[in-house]
């Protein structure tokens, strides 16, 4: 890939279908024209920071192309905020645009000084999201290191186009001249259908999505042939990697470690959970790693420039390293992810990582998906509960004892899920991550 290539230059040749957006081929020329229109609008108003609320990948591409090289920041929003919401004074956008670039709201008092950044909201589940500022060049730097491929890759977008993970997929298809299949607000069923009918060759999705696809694929007629399976957004466990590897034996399987704040850090392609412990010493892809109090900390050349509208950050150590919030443990030659520090369940003073319990449950042949959560309890503070989606052909009441026994042989008593509920699906948020019950 030529590093000097701009987003606009990626939109060639003019008749190339760049995105199949909700079934309609959006060609490069149309995206170029829309980008020019947006750029004129920004110049006309001398905007320094403009917010764009969109669910569409084609609109995000247009926004990236228009903002690159101009001094206006583009804030990509996944949610609606009312006019009097305090987020607007924190974020200092001068206008809110829709997909047609109509001004939905104007905030004439805003005093932002734009620097041509893409501003992304974090996918936190509680409170006001934070906004991370990135330059397009840094956002794309990991993508542009890959060689330009002019093959016939078709990527299926499972992430929200205005999320960090979604942008990584979008930038990849732009710089590799691949094609993107995208839908507005797709649910898992829509995406599973698209995975069969649209014949994507490359799919990037959360482990939760991949497990849903494995559940569905066991009773699907259409054969899915993926060349690339990318896993991100949540830590992936060995059972999921093994099942994907068995089901899609010819696919390259990669899991990516990234966050909105730290950027895309590294990828792992040896089909083993976690990452090589040697990277703690020698670094990887320009990223330095260390463990403090069990939490992975990162120094990344692809980190955000900073938060917008936040006075201080709990996510940053005094010396500038980013505190990931991911609990890790070195086991042999591997660093394994043990869960998010904010997901910890406190059972009578003992800490339980839901992800660790989920990984054990997923080893059982009857368990296809599991979500572990804490339920408030007067006796012990919280008890560990699990919602379980069963593999086809299993009956909950028949396997309840077997699953419990499997878990009790592998987990300490306080980590053992005492309440097992059998459900048909696990809820996911717009980022495709499990919606954790707190």
């Amino acid at each position: 890939m030529d590093r000097r290539c701009t987003i606009l230059e990626c939109l060639t040749p003019a008749d190339r279908a760049v995105v199949i957006q909700d079934g309609r081929a959006v060609r490069a020329l149309e995206l170029q024209d829309r980008a020019e229109r947006l750029r004129c609008l920004i110049n006309q108003h001398s905007w320094q920071r403009v917010a764009l609320r969109t669910e569409r990948a084609d609109t995000v591409i247009v926004a990236l192309a228009a903002s690159q090289g101009c001094s206006c920041d583009v804030l990509l929003l996944r949610d609606d905020y009312s006019a009097d919401d305090p987020v607007w004074s924190a974020w200092q956008a001068e206008a809110l645009l829709d997909d047609e670039f109509a001004v939905r709201r104007a905030f004439p008092g805003s005093k932002a000084e734009g620097s041509g950044c893409v501003l992304l909201t974090t996918s936190g589940t509680t409170g006001r999201p934070k906004v991370a500022a990135h330059s397009i060049e840094v956002l794309a730097s990991r993508v542009t290191k890959e060689k330009l491929r002019t093959d016939t890759a078709r990527w299926l977008l499972t992430f929200h186009p205005a999320s960090y993970a979604g942008l990584q997929v979008i930038l990849t298809i732009l710089f590799t001249r691949a094609e993107l299949i995208a839908f507005v607000r797709p649910n898992v069923s829509d995406l599973l259908k698209a995975a069969q009918t649209e014949q994507p060759t490359h799919v990037s999705a959360t482990p939760t999505f991949w497990r849903s696809l494995l559940i569905a694929s066991s009773h699907l007629d259409a054969k899915m042939e993926f060349r690339q399976i990318t896993i991100g957004g949540e830590a992936v466990d060995q059972s999921t990697l093994d099942q994907l590897s068995r089901t899609f034996s010819t696919a390259r399987i990669t899991h990516i470690y990234a966050s909105t704040e730290a950027g895309a850090l590294f990828s792992v392609s040896d089909k083993r959970a976690g990452f090589p412990a040697a990277w703690m010493d020698i670094g990887v892809e320009g990223v330095k790693l260390r463990i403090r109090e069990g939490i992975l900390e990162i120094l990344s050349p692809r980190a955000m420039k900073g938060y917008v509208g936040e006075l201080s950050s709990k996510n940053q150590a005094d010396d500038g390293w980013l505190i990931s919030g991911d609990l890790v443990e070195i086991v042999g030659d591997r660093v394994l992810f043990r869960g998010r520090i904010d997901n910890i369940i406190n059972v009578g003073g003992a800490k339980v990582m839901p992800e660790e319990v989920e990984a054990v449950l997923l080893q059982h042949e009857a368990v296809r998906e599991a979500m572990v959560f804490g339920q408030r309890n007067p006796l012990v503070g919280a008890i560990v509960c699990a919602d379980i989606v069963l593999s086809p052909g299993f009956d909950g009441e028949e396997v309840r004892t077997s699953i419990y026994s499997h878990a009790s042989q592998r987990l300490e008593a306080h980590k053992l899920p005492r309440v097992l509920r059998f459900v048909t699906a696990i809820g996911t948020n717009a980022a495709g991550k499990k919606v954790r019950l707190i």
Partner: protein
Amino acid sequence: MNSDEIRGHIQAIVDRILRQKGLDPVLLTKETRFLGGHVPIDSLDLAVLLTELEKVTGVDPFKYGFRNFLTVDELAGLYMDGKK
């Protein structure tokens, strides 16, 4: 819900907990002690019992802090008190 009904729920929930553990059901009496007696449950199983009882009775006797109990009858009594 009277005391007998609450004890019925306690029996049913304990049966479920024991079945999940692969154990045979144990007949509870009013005097049966939950921990340290002949019912093979630990404190976390007992914690589950409280959570499940709150669900079926709609009563949370521990809303304002923990209240001690040893036997089936004492626990049932807390849920009766909680309704008042």
